[in-house]
Symmetry: C2
Subunit: 77 residues, 2 copies
Amino acid sequence: MKKRIFVTLKPGVLDPQGRAVHHALDGMGFDGVNDVRIGRLIELDVADTVTDEALGEMCEKLLANTVIENYRIEGSE
Amino acid sequence: MKKRIFVTLKPGVLDPQGRAVHHALDGMGFDGVNDVRIGRLIELDVADTVTDEALGEMCEKLLANTVIENYRIEGSE
């Protein structure tokens, strides 16, 4: 079973990586870019027995820094 | 207008980061995890005038290393 976890910085948390990409895009002449935020996409191949609660626990303990990051679990297509 | 770009390693490309996470999950006692692949989620806030072609060009030139990575553009909800 494929699951996807999106880990993104919480609103208001400074994103230096996103800012650097934004700056580079501007420098390359790409207009119309207002903001860039970089997050992580974690694709898991797990047994059917693995519950969303277990996935949540994986996020809380390892995959996301819940002080500054949000995570969202999605079954992938 | 919000757009999301998913950048993932091409199948067959070794993912040391994913392997390290997988190893850590095993070590923490999480059973049933068969594979872990880590990618990037790039959230862009762009003007309505920015086309998917322009976004594709941003990916080709900066956001993705198309030798080893695939990218997919999605309008975010």
